[in-house]
């Protein structure tokens, strides 16, 4: 009860094509993440689906029903905003009950649903507080609660975790994932953080400049990126790209090697370089190695390896995990 289909959906502001035309199918119950750099049109796309922006061209279908020109409230979607957009003058209870009240649900039913949502989200002790008296994470949960009670066919999240501190972000990430497991409702989640995309998504949609670069499961994107943009965007730390002679040796314009697919040795290896910076995270060590004729490569090694600035080291790429790209940045297979 929540499949969404976009057919040639366009958005044009004045004479700027923000979204030149997107085809996308989101299946019922999927957790889809739109990811891309700032200004890639991912939030605009979400707002088009929500109905908060008018579609300039193309059709948008929810469960096979054409909703291109239908008011946001009638689409049966619920949205969680980046700023949470809670109503500051209403108590948490009234905030959560607001969509029910607007739908004309009777008072007893409202109370029952609000209590149920509050229980799921651990908000019961805070029901009579105002949003201003809550912490960031609690406000986030109220916003989710307000979305849940409507029993929408799909949830839309617009960078919901970007205002939270790092520890809370990890917690909320888990909570949203668990919520998806228990509700089995379609969720569309917009983020610029590829870690959130990788950890939460069933399906990732990578966007750049209003175009879909690639659609696939997290591991699909990680293993077989379609082009250099996706290869560089998915995976942390970023993939290393090497052009020129080394790439030509592999029959490509450029090759890409992920930091975790480079082996570091102090004795021997394919490429010789000096360590610029080494970042010791405990579990891992990231070394930025300057290699003559190739450039700076980021290498991931275990936390036990001790290398320091100025050390001479040898790097060997794992041949099976080298990604090859042509001149236009498309992957060669």
């Amino acid at each position: 009860m929540g499949s969404i289909t976009l057919e040639k959906v366009q958005k044009i502001y004045g004479n700027v094509e923000v979204i030149p035309g997107i085809d996308l199918t989101i299946n019922d119950g999927e957790f889809v993440v739109f990811v891309g750099p700032s200004g890639c049109g991912k939030s605009t796309l979400l707002r088009l689906i929500a109905g908060l922006e008018d579609v300039s061209g193309g059709t948008l279908k929810i469960d096979g029903r054409d909703v291109t020109d239908i008011a946001p409230a009638k689409r049966g979607l619920a949205m969680v905003f980046q700023s949470y957009a809670l109503y500051p003058h209403m108590s948490v209870r009234k905030n959560i009950a607001f969509p029910l009240k607007m739908a004309g649900v009777d008072k007893a039913e409202q109370d029952r649903k609000v209590e149920a949502a509050a229980k799921v989200l651990n908000l019961t002790p805070y029901l009579d507080r105002r949003p201003g008296q809550l912490s960031g994470g609690q406000r986030q949960r109220v916003a989710i609660g307000r979305a849940i009670v409507r029993e929408p066919s799909a949830f839309l999240f617009d960078e919901p975790l970007s205002n939270l501190d790092a520890a809370l972000r990890v917690n909320m990430r888990l909570e949203i994932s668990e919520l998806h497991q228990s509700l089995k409702t379609t969720m569309i989640y917009v983020t610029h953080d590829q870690v959130e995309a990788m950890t939460m998504a069933d399906k990732i949609v990578v966007l750049q400049a209003g175009n879909v670069e690639q659609v696939g499961s997290p591991l699909e994107l990680y293993r077989t990126p379609r082009n250099r943009f996706v290869a560089g965007f998915i995976g942390s730390p970023k993939m290393n790209f090497v052009e020129g002679e080394e790439a030509a040796r592999h029959g490509a314009y450029a090759i890409g090697v992920r930091p975790e697919h480079l082996a570091l040795s102090k004795e021997s290896g394919q490429w010789k370089g000096t360590v610029g910076v080494s970042e010791h995270l405990g579990s891992d060590t990231f070394c930025y190695v300057h290699v003559d004729g190739i450039g700076t490569l980021n290498v991931r090694t275990s936390g036990e390896v001790s290398v320091h600035h100025g050390d001479t080291v040898y790097l060997t790429p794992s041949e099976a995990n080298i990604h090859r790209f042509d001149k236009d940045g498309m992957a060669l297979r």
Partner: protein, 290 residues
């Protein structure tokens, strides 16, 4: 104010201003109180004497006093209702994007810069005049009998003039408040199924509550002392039908030369203004808390 030392210094530095303001207020207040217990008529110099509460007795039992009291409340209430409802409506319109927005906003604010005497005279002679006024011309063009506003509905006419002056103020304050409303809240309400009216009453009006409170408090202070508009248009008449408390005190002390009676009226006005202030703060003061 970080330290004890800086607090003490701040108190010391601010004290001259506080003392000056206090003196500025206390001296006239004390003199008014003193005169209000005197028989003090400018037509009978040298006859001043202590007469206790007689001035108050005369002022409060004067039939004009009760009329003036009702007129004052009608004037304040009427103007508040018109400016706040009209102000919200204008602010909503001006908040929409349209061509020439900046110029229109300045034009809307313009009436506030016109002096009360000037605007009242313009209204009196160019709009409301039963012979030469614009409304009279309009009525005649339609074949109707021109309406003599100041004779038939003097208080309503004055309420109209004063509202015209204060509408820009209310609009300005409410417009800035409206602009500070988070757009995402409106979008969230839209997603939640709230129509335009529901969005207005559930999201915008609560957001405007504080601004409306500010408008009510500030306007009430100034509207209790409306004077110039009455002086240049109706002179409080016909009879006492457009006399407010301020005008009654003026008439008492400067038209009847009864300084003692006027002072008693002034003290009564102070007490009444404080009663109004207490009621206002009780009713809407909570909106101003964080």
């Amino acid at each position: 104010m970080a330290t004890k030392h800086s607090r003490a210094a701040a108190r010391l530095m601010i004290s001259p201003a506080v003392l000056l303001l206090l003196g500025w207020m206390i001296v006239p207040l004390a003199m008014t109180l003193y005169f209000s217990f005197q028989r003090y008529n400018l037509l009978m110099p040298g006859m001043e004497e202590w007469i206790g509460l007689a001035n108050y007795q005369y002022f409060l039992t004067d039939p004009a006093f009760f009329d003036a009291l009702i007129n004052t409340l009608l004037l304040v209430g009427g103007v508040l209702v018109i400016t706040i409802i009209g102000g919200i409506f204008l602010a909503l319109l001006l908040d929409q994007p349209f061509f020439g927005q900046g110029v229109v906003r300045i034009l809307v604010i313009a009436p506030f810069f016109v002096m009360p005497t000037v605007s009242s005279l313009v209204w009196k002679n160019m709009f409301l005049n039963p012979v030469n006024g614009l409304f009279a011309h309009a009525a005649k063009a339609l074949g109707l009998q021109p309406y003599d506003f100041f004779a038939q509905a003097p208080l309503a006419s004055i309420i109209g003039i004063v509202s015209w002056q204060w509408l820009p103020f209310a609009t300005l304050i409410l417009l800035t408040a409206l602009q500070s409303l988070d757009q995402e809240q409106l979008e969230a309400a839209e997603m939640d199924g709230a129509g335009p009216l529901s969005r207005f009453f559930y999201i915008m009006v609560p957001h405007l509550a504080r601004a409306i409170t500010v408008v009510i408090l500030i306007q009430t202070i100034f509207l209790l002392s409306v004077f110039a508009e009455i002086l240049v248009t109706t002179n409080g008449g016909p009879g006492t039908s457009s006399t407010n408390l301020t005008y009654l005190i003026y008439a008492q002390s400067l038209l009847q030369f009864d300084v003692g009676g006027g002072s008693a009226g002034g003290v009564v006005a102070i007490v009444l203004a404080n009663i109004v202030a207490i009621f206002l703060m009780r009713m809407i003061g909570k909106n101003l808390e964080a």
